[in-house]
């Protein structure tokens, strides 16, 4: 009984960590920059496909490929930000949604054209395959790596936003663009960097998550819902909120599928409805705001 429960918690937190990595970039662009970027999971999808190409076809080492994918996509997103996104920063949320939703659909088509419709299998290095056993309990090495990555990102981003110059500039630009600019902060460049970081995180999430979520041209559409759930639950723009929400969703989803499989994937939507009813601003945003004030 207890081992079942601990098993569910282990699976849930590692699943949650993956959701965290994928949703984090969305939380940054949506929350900090106020831009509705529905194409976020499309960027993640490209992360996955680039990884597959590097690892499976060019036989590059796994983590080197992940690093290359993240850097390349972050840099490529700078172009995308200037050409496509920047003109829409002041547009309405509806315009932004339509633009980025269209981009997401196009991404599906592009991926289908170059990689085909079938599922791509990521070749995972041997040391990440299999499970570690602890009596009756066991955890997959890959998921443990995801959990570690999630924790590291949580710490890194908290530190980055709270204690670095760039973090302070991002927060200032978000709070009031005009005053920030008048203080000599290069707002435009700060947004570019924030966007690149968000895209890089998306690529990281897609690259690492492809193994667990499955990678096919429908990846972007399928995971967008999960990402939005995490961001809405956690409160956009809050790194800690995103983390809590991802963990909560991960554990609830795995737990409900394990204990009440008849409900299947339904439970996370109930959770979302309940949270939105009682705390429409998300779980964590209140705390975050109070601290910021």
């Amino acid at each position: 009984m207890l081992t079942d429960f601990v098993g569910v918690i282990i699976d849930g937190t590692s699943y949650g960590a993956m959701l965290f990595v994928i949703a984090l970039g969305l939380s940054i662009t949506l929350g900090l920059m106020g831009f509705v970027n529905l194409a976020h999971t499309a960027v993640a999808m490209f992360g996955g496909y680039f990884l597959v190409t590097l690892v499976n076809q060019l036989a590059w080492p796994f983590f080197v490929s992940v690093a290359v994918v993240v850097v390349v996509i972050a840099l490529a997103s700078l172009v995308l930000e200037r050409v496509v996104y920047a003109p829409f920063y002041r547009a309405t949320a509806l315009d932004q949604s339509l633009l980025t939703f269209g981009l997401m659909l196009m991404a599906g088509g592009i991926v289908h054209y170059f990689w085909g419709s079938s599922q791509q299998a990521v070749r995972v290095p041997e040391y990440l395959e299999g499970r570690w056993y602890l009596g009756d309990l066991s955890i997959s090495k890959y998921r443990l790596m995801l959990l570690g990555t999630g924790m590291a990102l949580l710490a890194l981003l908290n530190w980055g936003l709270d204690s670095t110059r760039l973090g302070a500039m991002i927060r200032a630009s978000v709070d009031n663009q005009r005053i920030a600019a008048s203080m000599g902060i290069p707002v435009k460049r700060v947004f570019m960097i924030a966007f690149a970081i968000g895209s890089g995180l998306a690529a990281l999430g897609g690259a690492l998550g492809a193994e667990v979520l499955g990678l096919d041209p429908a990846f972007a559409t399928r995971t967008l819902v999960l990402c939005l759930l995490v961001v809405v639950l956690g409160g956009a723009g809050s790194v800690n909120g995103t983390f809590f929400a991802a963990m909560l969703l991960g554990i609830c989803d795995i737990g409900s599928k394990y204990y009440v499989p008849e409900f299947g994937a339904f439970m996370i939507y109930v959770l979302m409805a309940v949270v939105l009813l009682y705390r429409p601003q998300g779980l964590y945003s209140l705390v975050a705001r109070r601290r910021a004030a």
Binding site: D4, G7, S117, S118, L213, D253, K257, G264
Partner: protein
Amino acid sequence: MKPRLRSCLASCALAVAAAHTPTHADEKPLKIGVVTEFSGTYASAGQSIESAMRAYMKLNGDTVAGRKVELILRDTGGISPENARRYAQELVTRDKVDALVGFNFTPNALAAAPIATAAKTPMIALAATAIVTEKSPYIVRTAFTLGQTSAPMATWAAKNGIKRVFSLVSDYGPGHDAAQAFKDAFTAAGGQMAGEIRMPVSGMEFAPFLQRARDARADAIFVFVPGSEAAIAFMKAYNERGFKQAGIRLIGTGDLVDDDSLPAIGDVALDTVTAHHYSAAHDSDLNRAFVKAVQAQGRKRPNFIGVGAYDAMAVIYAAAKKTGGDTDGDKLIAAMKGLKLDSPRGPISIDPATRDIVQDIYIRKVQKVGGELYNVEFDKIEAVKAR
């Protein structure tokens, strides 16, 4: 709207019937409308179907009873009842096809069934839910049903030392059929179900369901998922959960380790025992010719969907020969009933009462043959009726 639609259908039917009455039109091509998916997530199924039908024409000639055979392809893009219905209607009214082939998704087949009835056009459906052939007297099935493959799997398991089984199936028609047929046959043979779970059909996260099944400590898990994407994701999650170390066997229907997805699944699949009607490794000259003809078109190898399409052509050819090239719908259907054919999968026949396929079901195990993974058949149950 309804009466208007009905009168429209009736006039279609009249038009088609009129087109069929003269028998001196032997020079007219025999047109076959193929309604399946050539784009989208399931595009590989459509490609399997087309390449198998072309393989049949290559091996048996592109004329039958003095008439040239012509394929007209329509792309539904996936599970899309509206498209399937619209294309079926266009094909019978505008293109005046003599038979419809395809419909490998149950919703697509059900949507098009009334068109076949109204136009009196034989429709060879490849969908696997039991009820499909009941929906029109003009539907013939050359594929398989889940009951047909799941029940023999259960009987074999019970005979081979598997006493408790946990069943995991996708939560939609074919999954329900598979779970029910397996449970009935397994308990009747003295086995015991350790538990049953229906998994969301669109979900790709199988871990918690697998963990639940593993914790039930059964001798084996019985699995049905709808092939390709789902099968690859499922096998990956299965590999991760350490079933082999725990001594829990994996059994299922052949969709799980389909010839199309087997290379992508990889060595995890080794030793998986499944029951199905077709394997590209089936040992016969006819099958070797079929595999070669498909591969000659640049396809990797035919799979269970392909063999259904191949036999759809075989059934149409055989029926047209029997009627001497007359493609009146009623005559064709009458000719199809009771047909006995030699297929790349082995002997098959069309049950005259149900218009459903009767075929041998093989028990197979995934093994390496010449460095590649194949489902190697090692046991069979003869002449299993669809159910």
